[in-house]
Structures are given as structure tokens and as C-alpha cells.
Symmetry: C2
DNA sequence: CACAAGTCGAACACTGATGTACGAGATGCT
DNA sequence: AGCATCTCGTACATCAGTGTTCGACTTGTG
């Protein structure tokens, strides 16, 4: 599987003609942007946004599902790298702030792409990569729960769901104009730090 | 508008034949259940779930959009009544708990119906009824922010979005089996009470 | 009982989206 | 320069969902 992916990238970057490579780039970028806004966007709209004909798009991607999968795989890989670069050591609450800020950037960038991926990718494959992303959170949360930084009177799974949910809600709120994008990071951090504070403790 | 609605109800409940009324009931109940699970469910599936033919359904509802609108209007009206019956006096935190419990029941019952309504109803009409429901929350939140029960260092609009988001997240978590339905109410209350506690205060 | 009202399935037209076929024309590559 | 590669528009087949029509049948109601 891993070998297949790298082989395809190899093919894209060396075997094809230069204009074809440029178009493939445009298509994937346009698809990322379109799918981030609307997970059900049509292939025709993606092609239009990429500035290529619909037929050209099908020349590079066999089907809509394959296009979505490719785009999602790239986004997930990039997200995984971005989250992996975050320093999770030291005070769990400070580490959570850093992880939230990085995650917020990714949420803004990719938005509803995850919904499209869930619909288009094979269920087990999506499950696998999704769990991979969640695992970026788990160790920090477990450590914080262990040393009393975070409350542990709720299931860890619920708290992880909550994190995602608040990020998603902020994305929607910015999209609807309810809050300014610049304020979102502060609101997210302030809200989730409060929600994770152990009962009986006093927040700084 | 109000007159139109009551006129239609009148027609449904008195002018039509008994079996027709029963079928209309079945269709609206089935549509409610189906749309709560999948906002994009087809008319054919709704008819099947209601135990009637697709043509019969179209005999009672001119179009899918009208059916969804009718179903949503009934759900919203019922929700409005349920929320209106909640005692919002006394300690704001206790009142919030009561309001959350009632809202959780409605969220479980209607789920994704709100998404379907947003897609099928005229934008302004949806906006109106939706704002009507939110207004059930606003006075309590404002009172709690004023007397120091809830934090007021975040926009009220954000806190209202957060409430909805957490309810929705809990619904999804139950659906996916991550948490048990019986535990959901406690988790929701515990999470949101914490998120709304003013900085510097100590939670009981 | 008799008729109006209602139900049902099959068939049809229409729409929007996906995916394919073809052929003419443009363009990168050597 | 010349050829393989690529692009593009148009047209077509297919599919799923919506909404309608028709005619035969069933059932509630006066």
C-alpha cells in the first residue's frame, strides 16, 4: 500500500508532461478548497475551479471517489505532519493550547473535506487514517488526565469527540460570520481549557 | 401564515377520509424518524418506512420540500412547547441543567432533521423559526452572565453555538456507540457547566 | 349498497450528476 | 520540426431521484 502510493507520486512527478503535472496540481488544490466548503460539490464545479475541462480531470482521476481519496490522503498526511511537529512536552495545559492552535489552522484549511472523505473512501481505510490522527491527541490527554491537569471523570473518547466538535463548531461560526476568524483560536482554547478543568480546581 | 397553517390542519383533520388521515400521520412520523437519521433520505424510503406507496405520499404532499417543511414545522412547534415548559427561574446553573436535559431529549428525537429543514425550507423562513428556538436560551444565558453564574468573557453567540454543538456531538457519539445514551445527559451537563464557569471561580 | 375517496404499482418524462467516446486542435519534449 | 502527449468541447450512455399519469382495485362513508 505504502509502496503503491509512492509509486503513483513518482509517476506523477516524472513520467507525465509538465502541463499535465501543473493541471493535476491545480485540480487537487481546487478540489481541496471546494470540498472544504461543500463535501458534495460536483466534479464539474471542481474542474471549473481548477480552470480545466471536466474531461481533462477524468483523464487524471478515474472517478470522483478516487479524486476525493487522493485529496484526502494528501490533506491527512499534511495534517499528520503538522500535528507531529507540535511540542507536546511540558505543562499539559500549555501543550493542549499549542495542539489546539495547530488543529484550528488545519480545520480552517480543510473544513468539510473530512466529511467528503468519509463518504468516498472505503470505510476501513477512512477509519484507519482517522484513528491515526486521533492518536496525535491521545497521549497528551492521557498524561494530562493522569497528573490532574485535565478532569478524568468523563470517558476519554467523549473528550476527544468534544475537541473535534468544538473545532468544527468554530469553523461553522466563522463561516456564518458569527465570530471573527482572528478571535476563534482564543475562544476555542478558552472554552476547551474550561471544559477539561477537573471539578473542584480553580482555573488560572 | 399562521392562519394558513391552521387551515391546512383543519383540512387534514376533518375534510379527509379516516384512512387518509392515518396515512398522513404515518408518513409524517416515518419522515421524522428517517430525516432524523439521514437528512438526504429519499422519498421512496420514507414511503416504504411509512408503509404506503410512493404515489400515495405524493397525493398528500406536493413535493419533497413541502413534506420536509411540514415535518420540520411540526417538530419545531413541539420543541418550542417542550422548551417553553422548562422552569428557567432560580439558580441559573440549575436552570441550565433542566434546559439541557429537555434539549437533549429533543436532539435525540429529531437529530439531523434540522439539516434537512435548512436545505428544503426557504432560507428566511428557516432563519425565523431557528432564531425562535434560540430565543428560548438567550434570556437564561444573559441572566446567568449578568449575575456571575456564567462567564461573560466570550460572545453570547459563541456560547449558544457551543451549546448546540455539544448536543449534536453527543447525538453522534451515541449513534456511533462511543457513549451510552443513558450517560449522555450527565456528560453534556458536566461538560457545558464546566465550559460556562467563569474564570477564577471554583466548580462545585 | 353505492359512490366518492383513497390506494397501489407500473410506466413515463425530467433533472442533475457521473463517466465515456471521439476528433480536432494546442503544446511540451527531443 | 515533428511526434507523442495533452486539452477541450460536444455528444452520448447511464443512473438515481423527483414528480406525474393512468387504470384497476379497495375501502370508508352516507
Amino acid at each position: 500500500m505504502m509502496f503503491n502510493i509512492s509509486w503513483e507520486v513518482q509517476a506523477v512527478t516524472t513520467l507525465k508532461r509538465a502541463d499535465a503535472r501543473k493541471n493535476i496540481e491545480s485540480i487537487m488544490d481546487a478540489a481541496t478548497a471546494c470540498l472544504a466548503r461543500d463535501p458534495d460539490v460536483s466534479v464539474a464545479d471542481i474542474a471549473k475551479a481548477a480552470g480545466v475541462g471536466r474531461v481533462t480531470l477524468y483523464g487524471h482521476f478515474e472517478s470522483r471517489a478516487i479524486l476525493v481519496t487522493q485529496v484526502a490522503e494528501r490533506a491527512i498526511q499534511q495534517s499528520d505532519e503538522a500535528l507531529g511537529a507540535v511540542d507536546l512536552d511540558g505543562d499539559p495545559r500549555a501543550a493542549l493550547s499549542r495542539l489546539l492552535e495547530a488543529s484550528w489552522r488545519l480545520t480552517q484549511q480543510y473544513g468539510a473535506l473530512i466529511v467528503a472523505a468519509e463518504q468516498s473512501m472505503p470505510h476501513e481505510q477512512f477509519q484507519a487514517v482517522h484513528l491515526g490522527l486521533i492518536d496525535r491527541w491521545k497521549p497528551l490527554m492521557e498524561r494530562g488526565r493522569g497528573d490532574g491537569s485535565f478532569r478524568d471523570d468523563q470517558p476519554l473518547g467523549w473528550q476527544l469527540t468534544l475537541l473535534q466538535s468544538v473545532l468544527h463548531a468554530a469553523s461553522g461560526a466563522v463561516y456564518r460570520g458569527e465570530i471573527k476568524a482572528a478571535d476563534a483560536a482564543t475562544l476555542i482554547d478558552g472554552t476547551l481549557q474550561a471544559a477539561l478543568t477537573p471539578p473542584g480546581a480553580t482555573r488560572h
